[in-house]
Symmetry: D2
Subunit: 413 residues, 4 copies
């Protein structure tokens, strides 16, 4: 162990697992450490502070360790401005570029700390006019000033809430053996309180929401202003419209029986919208009178329909270029406080990639592997519920209704 | 192809897949066939009749094919009495013994056909005093007259109902993308109509019913006389009693939080029952005042608690010897018309093994592999529902209630 | 039952389930039937012929039934030319349009039968210059002559092979309890014999192929000319290139440990390719020296990389517009005889939608729901293997190698 | 917060998560804390020490918190002897009994610390003749001196190893996206080094090991002395014997095809053993010449076959009373250092319940829910591998072979 370096960390280091992860990482990577200073937060709301001397075999090894520690919130003790290099080409990165986490991040720049804008995981930081902008690789232009190394970059991982909450820290196990009825109530409470405090809620959903009969419940949540942005694909919109126009989804009627002509209604639904020119026109013409997308348009709730290679049609509102679709999703998700992901692996993981770690995220799917993959891909804050969306979502809508009317009657007294 | 033999089949051969399966089997096994006579049922309710000459490479090959065809309902054209041999020892079978299917089966005996009693899969047929008794290998005694070969044995596979029903023929796919709310209604309707026509319903369940908060719904169904027999294990009973006595299951309270002392309440629950001597005594002493087992005892609904190597305790009512437990289950299941299996792979498959194929069987589990395995193990009549029992069962109980009260109010007019 | 109509069907009606499905469908839909003529194929290779009078409540009901029977291969006895209508607009369909199945289809046109070109499911048939062209809704132009109704359209569903094969008829269950080692051998045999008879094999794969360490095995299969077309997404290519350039995939090294800098290598890999301008250039410059995509380019094997909203970058070869990607996939899949789908739900279902039912399709995934959904979405010919691609694919490549060298040594004698 | 109490903890408090869990627990339960003393281990191998003042609303609340902290390794600062009470009846526990964890536990008794014998989870501690014996509820006798409360009881949770290992701390996620080939090598290395250091290995397996064709690989591992005890059920033994006697398992032959007579071979296998009187006799008589159980008997490897309600037969060696079976399993598992669980949920969880947390545990199953449930039920040290046992186990046996012969040839030089 020839190379050493001093780092410091501050915050709820013990209960938020930050110090544990840092020491684990050093040991896992074959390094050594010596704790120089440790001031533990004595009471629940006090923060702790630690200075650690980290040792590596050589400077490359030490740098690898430091890079990992950095993502956990460690910083070098000497404070300098961030270093940058110029991107040599379109989508070409300078050596040693800094790759973002999904935690709040600050860049030291002209002696002061600037928060990185729209920060999300696996992007680069571009400095421009005193701003630090989180930039996906696909948007790097020749000449961009890209942050390299970790000097002058500060990461602030989320900390454990000081009391137990629904979106608890470390409670992100995937289990199907929970009292589902009770969980519905807690989630309903979270949704109501998020909206009450002015929060913004995004819903991400897959076609199973329509197939399992949960579409009316989602439409109701949109109508009642619990949804601020909807992210889905062509299939959700087509099934939803098919159900409105013909009472089927993929040719299956409400009682789950296939009706005559099967998939034809799916194509008819698209054709009807094409004949009108757009979903919006179809509403204006009185053709489409309800459903998920109808409620979005009617209430002015923004919705992004991103294309995929499974799409029939697609509908005019669908963004068929996936680079543009991803950009639109990223913009729509800015400022979101809570995300409800339902029955879609593709869209859930794509959205998870775009979310800061501070966004409360709940992923509802009957397939536990959707939740497992979402968390494997870095959306570690997600809470997984393994349940049947077809019964879960109607119960959730009912519960929100019930809570709301109780509140109203309570406030009348 | 040197060996030939003529067989005949009768019934709804085409739409019930019987003829298809027979010809497939001959081809899969490398045999040949020639259809000698075929009278197709011209209208929906007419049966068909076919005579087929089956050809095999040699007599062993032909016998192998005939054995398989027999289980599909084929029989030799010449009618003879069944052949028997004497079992040479306890649990020792004569060569060539006849192994039962789960379809209705008749044995020709003294010139007339006798129905096999308590028939279920993978057993032997013992002839005794003019009766043909389905006997598990474990109950074969030295000297038993055991049916060998297929001569004089007739199998009657279930036929496709003449119209679409919930328990449809061939519809036993496992899918999680069905309109769950609608399925609840259809199942509620089936349960009510089964009971109205004097049918007997068995419920098989695992501990997740209690963990997910569905126990009160099951208790209600028992109280309202929709359950005629309950099959479960020690864990269901202990969790149910723990919830009644301490408000927890495995130390987890109703809102899904672990409470202090964790698993201790589980052990306390057993200890309390032991102190009383039995669950029944605990009820008589006023200790246990509700729950699944309480309702069973209170309403005189028979329940079998079969032991497993995961059990704590176990409770006094648990049958710890698995041979005795299986026998008790078999007896309790006699005459059952419908079985509702919920959240248990072990008990579902064990019960499936004991059921005739005519019993309407529905298997509800959040894990699709439970249903897949149940059908793989021969319970081909099972309908699988991949859903969350914690929301599904309360909805089912609600729906049954609603339908019942509608009926009552309708009949009042 | 006031409306009646006579239909006829021909082929291996019994063992290929065709007649069973037809009668089931009539009964499920509440119709009646009377079989007028039935000539059963007496021997294994003889076909059967049936004429059925179908009855419906009214002409709409009867039409609904006939539409379903048509997809099963039934046709009206009177033969007329197909009827067409003009598409009124871009992506707008005429009322009553004919929606394709994935079975071989013929259109009667000027008195003779013309086979539908590039036929796959859920499309329309456009007649043009004596040709009948399968056309997705997205490609319908104003003025296209679109086939409507089922008159003059003949569907030929696949028939059961006359002996047992790996890609057996009706054997498409999803089970994880098969002798995996044996299945590897059978599949290896199928791949070798498909290539020997001049067949074309497509491989569809997801990033788990790289993560689980199976990439070298796939690269070998491409190098040894067992793959004729590769369909995948950006992630597969990036992970493959990342592994070649840096020895990691998503920052995880070959032994499954996360290395320093994590996801950064993923972005570096893209950046390196961008700096070269394309994957091909990177190969020409000697930067990329092996792997899945390298072997494709080196051997001239066409590959389609379709974009998705989860993509980083994406790489220059990725088709980011999903409509264009789907078109490219459809063209690449023409003439394919066998498709091996591995560890991707999105691409497997998308490819399944584009395949005729005659293409032997095997779907390998550790998650049984991928296979279930693929079949639910109409790719009923798929065989599902629930296994671990990371061990399965290397074993498959080994086995193919072994079989080939045995053949060689056998032919040397 | 009216009640306070001082506790202390010692060890690798930070990196083994012990302190984090303790503070989390206090906060989750609504308590407060103040850290009085904290001495952090400065270097990797130094332990830390902490004294914490815990505050609860009242004495009951404080006791609940202390009970949970105790299971994490906390102890009161004042040291007293453990308190006991007399069990009032058979399987009846005294109020406030101490319920064991699966961590090493010591009881203070006559002024000195005594280690609890055969400690495993959810049992009681009985003091007798200077010994502290872990006793399941089912074995509590009237008059037993049972430990109550946590006074004088010390729990030592496992600590994080000081470097990265296969059985790493905190790495117990369930993922199917790992490089399976590499994992086989690492596990092979662990098995070899466990045996080399004189360790004892238990194998727990379900019938899928036989169905998927992995039985010869397991038989080889037993023959080569890598297995010290085998735990399974009746089905494994019957399938194994059926395969030896008839080449089938449940009537399915090695190539995965059902053969004639199906399940009959299963019953024949049992009958053959019954005719011999026992499996051992059948071996002595030369009837049974290979397979899993044959190797066990031949090499003197103890095996426990525990009965379940799904059993046919059962075989004479099967313990049909589940209480006796569990006792036999517990005895057989004493002193085990590593457990390999394969393709069985019932037996894996049952065995997990009986294992101390220090036993390296690996659970291999294609169904991720088996691993999830195992960990949910308290076997938190288990590593999950989601893979196909039919290919995995043969690869593992090959790899062990290869490593062994390399060693041999290396040592020859």
């Amino acid at each position: 162990m020839n190379e050493i370096c001093d780092i410091e960390m501050e915050g709820h280091l013990i209960d938020s697992l930050i110090l544990t992860k840092a020491l684990d990482k050093i040991m896992d990577m074959g390094g050594e450490f010596q704790i120089k200073t440790f001031r533990i937060g004595e009471k629940k709301n006090d923060t702790s502070y630690v200075q650690i001397t980290v040792m590596g075999r050589d400077s490359i090894h030490l740098d690898q360790i430091l890079l990992e520690l950095h993502a956990l919130g460690a910083r070098l003790i000497e404070i300098e401005d961030a270093k940058t290099q110029i991107a040599p080409g379109e989508m070409v990165v300078p050596k040693g570029f800094y790759s973002t986490t999904n935690h709040s991040t600050f860049v030291r720049y002209g002696g002061s700390w600037v928060e990185v804008e729209n920060n999300h995981m696996d992007c680069l930081i571009v400095l421009e006019d005193g701003r630090a902008i989180c930039t996906p690789l696909g948007h790097i232009k020749k000449g961009d000033r890209v942050v390299v190394g970790t000097t002058g970059v500060k990461v602030v991982p989320p900390e454990r809430p000081r009391q137990k909450t629904f979106f608890g820290f470390m409670s992100n196990e995937v289990s199907s053996e929970r009292p589902s009825g009770e969980i519905v109530k807690q989630l309903a409470g979270e949704i109501i309180s998020t909206k009450k405090s002015g929060g913004k809620i995004a819903v991400v959903c897959g076609p199973a929401v329509v197939h399992t009969g949960a579409a009316p419940a989602l439409a109701q949540l949109i109508r009642d202003s619990y949804v601020d942005v909807l992210l889905a694909g062509n299939a959700v919109a087509v099934h939803d419209i098919e159900r409105q126009l013909f009472g089927t989804s993929l040719g299956m009627n409400c009682s789950g029986s296939a009706t005559s002509g099967g998939h034809r209604n799916h194509l008819y639904a698209i054709s009807e919208i094409m004949a009108s020119g757009s979903i919006k026109n179809a509403i204006d013409q009185g053709k489409l009178k309800g459903g998920i997308i109808y409620e979005c348009i009617n209430r002015g709730v923004p919705f992004i329909l991103a294309g995929s290679i499974r799409d029939d049609g697609p509908l005019p509102e669908v963004i068929t270029d996936i680079v543009k679709a991803k950009d639109a999703m990223e913009k729509a998700l800015r400022g979101v406080d809570m995300t409800l992901m339902m029955s879609t692996m593709l869209h859930s993981i794509a959205v998870g990639n775009l979310l800061p770690s501070r966004v409360k995220t709940i992923c509802v799917d009957i397939n536990p592997s959707t939740v497992t993959k979402l968390m494997d891909r870095g959306t570690a804050q997600a809470i997984g519920l393994v349940t049947d969306i077809g019964i879960f979502l109607p119960r959730l809508a009912e519960e929100i209704d019930r809570m709301k009317s109780q509140e109203v009657s309570a406030s009348c007294v």
